[in-house]
Amino acid sequence: MSERRAPAGGSMPWSVRLSMGFVALFVLFALFGQWLSPFDFRETSLLNRLEPPALFTGEDSPYLLGTDARGRDLLVRLAVGAQISLIVAVVGTLISAVFGSLLGLIAGARRGFAETAIMTAVDVQASLPIIIVALFVLAMFNNSFILLLIMIGFTDWEGYARLVRAATLSAKEQGYVTAQRVLGSSAARIYLRHVLPNIFNIILVKFTVSLPLTILLETALSFLGLGVQPPMTSLGQIMSEGRDRLLNAWWLTLFPGAMIFLLALSVSLIGDWLRDRLDPTLIEGRRA
């Protein structure tokens, strides 16, 4: 029976509740975490370099999570880093999602030349892994935050385009689209008012899959020095700066690492749950 389930309601496993809780906590920390610390995130202190976290040593120190090699408070840096990482991940993923979905919708709706052109662009993008593009671009231009966002934003649009095109094609076979056409609704009305909301779930699930990937991508770019540039910071950058000090300043990698890992994990779990709640056949195993 092809009974479709309602998009909301039903019981939620504890793992998903926990994940949602963590994501909420993460967002709160990113927004307000800076106020937990008396320091500015750029404020360096010559005398307090690589202070261990007071939270663990129990020492009387204002550095609850310790300091980095420049004597900057890790807590406030994590908050700012979380903020920037979140912006990079969400904005980057959004650019991909909006741009890719729109093109996918057009390709699915219009077919013909528009489709061929878009799908060729998809092929081109698919043949160029982001890190290669990033290295190429950075060899040519100076790194900037906007450039980084654009690069990250344009990595995964092809995934959305493929997915949305396939979903649009299958939505087109649905009776409600035919009914709308017979009613004389405009193409814009059909695709934006009816098809798009119905494939939105698929985009949403894809979003939850690509968001952690984007976070990890930013981490990898930071490791190569291609990510967010100082004095701005990101979780990936904090972690990357701490990587040589794993043996004597574990907090520099452990805290941002745990945050990245838990965020990626939570979003993945939420995505899995969403996928299970929605029609799984619509999301997986489809091919353009």
């Binding site: 029976m1 479709r4 309602a6 409600y176």
Partner: protein
């Protein structure tokens, strides 16, 4: 007559929280050698679960909670996995509803048959080859070499079902279980397959447990009939007893729901609202690099429709009836022909159809599940149809409410979403939406074929009532001659994209001129009782 299968008090529990505690409750039946027992019921009645229980292949969520099943006089070793495995496909053969879905899509057909034989102990390769050849002959498959090497998707529905039957019979089973084996097939194919199953069963002397929702089919093949409703047997008896002296109201309801020829009052001919002449449509799908195939979908079809008239278009899958509808709706651009809609020449519109014309022509589609936008309240869906054509928000809402009443849905339905409705209710919503623009022509494209029998009858009645009340012209597309005969004034029979017969319903049914029409009429299940118009003795039963 020796008994092949004896079931006593079989009960299968549903998981907790379901709408009823048992999928099957207290089922007892017995199938003798050479005997055909039909299990009849609508979807969800528990008939397929019964078959799974016998085979020991119940889904994990379902548990057999009581009853005994014995096979050839001995209890089925349901707990002994290995023994059951040998029995399945060996002494018990099974035929499924969707023939192509019951074959592995990525394995060649021959290999699947070969595997079956090999698993069941036919060790020699030559022997297996020989047996397969015999089976192909027995199920009357043409071109065995090609089919042996073919993948399931390369077979027609009928061919695939013959393969499935061949598999079921491959090891000369004592019991054959057929679960809706013809539902997915065309009428003529259905007739052939039914005959084939019956013949082979009779010849082999196996017992046949036949599961179906179609009483017509039951009438054709059953010796013994059990009617199931919500997991319980409500009526049991020989074929003749059940058909002529049904006792349970549900059985009567089912029997009454079988569409039958209706005498249609002779009405004065209204003005011409649709005139199609010499329509041609060819699809040209891309077939890889620089290649295009040509598929002629509609060839030289002419049709006329008058106000107040119901014109049926009958044909099997691939006959071009849906393509014709798409041409008329200008969803496809025809290659040749003249199309006049409400006196306007459709040829003047290069692409699509101008909006004011659209409202004059509406459609109700086959699948009520996909025809509604799942994210739109149904009231809004109906109102939207009116709004697209210029009604104000308030007007449209009022219209939607009125229409909901007209299709017998409660006013509260307005605020609900499609998933809250059953298939039949959804089809009512679709009809309401189609009527929201006050169309002159309503096209029903297989509009009732996805529904259960009893629902079919209701929707058919609704169409009839609305049509008489509102007086629109109707193009009724169906593969089912019985349905067509129940509502149409005129009828067009299509075959391979062409019109083979056109005329008044009675003329076509009583005096078919074309072979194909005759074939179709022959294929109607339970044609004996179909010929008489209506079961008069049932009409009297309360």
């Amino acid at each position: 007559m020796t008994s092949v299968l004896d079931i006593s008090n079989l009960t299968v529990a549903l998981p907790e929280g379901g709408d009823r505690p048992f999928a099957v409750s207290d089922l007892s039946l017995s199938v003798g050698a050479g005997q055909c027992v039909c299990l009849v019921g609508e979807s969800g009645s528990g008939k397929s679960v019964s078959a799974q229980a016998i085979l020991g292949t119940l889904p994990r969520a379902l548990k057999r909670s009581g009853g005994r099943i014995s096979f050839l006089g001995k209890d089925l070793p349901l707990e002994d996995k290995a023994a059951m495995q040998t029995l399945r496909g060996g002494r018990i053969g099974m035929i499924f509803q969707e023939p192509s879905a019951s074959l592995d899509p990525v394995m060649r057909v021959g290999a699947q048959l070969d595997e079956l034989l090999s698993v069941h102990g036919v060790a020699s390769r030559q022997e297996r080859r020989r047996r397969i050849r015999e089976l192909f002959a027995a199920v009357r498959l043409p071109d065995p070499e090609r089919i042996y090497a073919a993948y399931p998707h390369q077979l027609s529905g009928g061919q695939a079902q013959r393969i499935v039957i061949a598999m079921a019979l491959a090891l000369e089973p004592a019991l054959l279980i057929a679960d809706e084996p013809t539902t997915a097939l065309d009428v003529t194919t259905q007739a052939e397959i039914l005959k084939l199953i019956k013949d082979l069963q009779t010849r082999s002397g196996a017992g046949l447990l036949f599961i179906t929702h179609d009483l017509g089919v039951v009438a054709d093949i059953a010796d013994q009939v059990l009617v199931m409703q919500e997991g319980k047997v409500v009526e049991e008896g020989t074929r003749d007893a059940v058909f002529s002296r049904p006792t349970h109201p549900y059985t009567i309801k089912l029997l009454k729901a079988i569409p039958r020829r209706q005498a249609r009052p002779e009405r004065e001919a209204g003005p011409l609202v649709l005139e199609a002449e010499g329509i041609h449509l060819t699809y040209r799908p891309s077939a890889g690099f620089l290649k295009r195939r040509e598929i002629v979908a509609v060839e030289d079809v002419s049709i006329t429709l008058r106000r107040g008239q119901v014109h049926g278009i009958v044909g099997e899958s691939g006959s071009g009836k849906s393509s014709l509808v798409r041409c008329i709706l200008k969803l496809e651009t025809m290659d040749a022909g003249r199309l006049m809609i409400g006196g306007e020449d459709a040829g003047q519109w290069r692409k699509g159809m101008p909006k004011p014309m659209r409202k004059r022509l509406q459609i109700v589609l086959q699948d009520p599940y996909s025809a509604l936008d799942p994210r739109q309240k149904i009231g809004d869906a109906i109102a939207e149809a009116a709004r697209v054509h210029g009604a104000s928000g308030a007007e449209a809402a009022a219209k939607a409410r009125e229409l909901l009443g007209m299709v017998n849905l409660p006013p509260q339905a307005y605020e609900r979403f499609p998933h809250e409705f059953s298939g039949g209710q959804r089809q009512r919503i679709c009809i309401a939406r189609a009527l929201a623009t006050d169309p002159e022509i309503l096209i029903a494209d297989e509009a009732i074929s996805a529904l259960d029998v009893s629902i079919q009858a209701q929707i058919l009645k609704l169409f009839r009532d609305l049509q008489e009340r509102l007086g629109f012209a109707m193009l009724f597309v169906t593969h089912d001659l019985r349905v067509a005969s129940a509502i149409c004034d005129d009828i067009t029979v299509m075959w391979k994209g062409r019109v083979v017969e056109q005329g008044r319903v009675d003329d076509v049914f009583d005096r078919p001129r074309h072979d194909y029409t005759r074939q179709l009429l022959d294929a109607i299940p339970d044609k004996g009782s179909f010929a008489t118009s209506g079961l008069s003795h049932l009409e009297a039963t309360p």
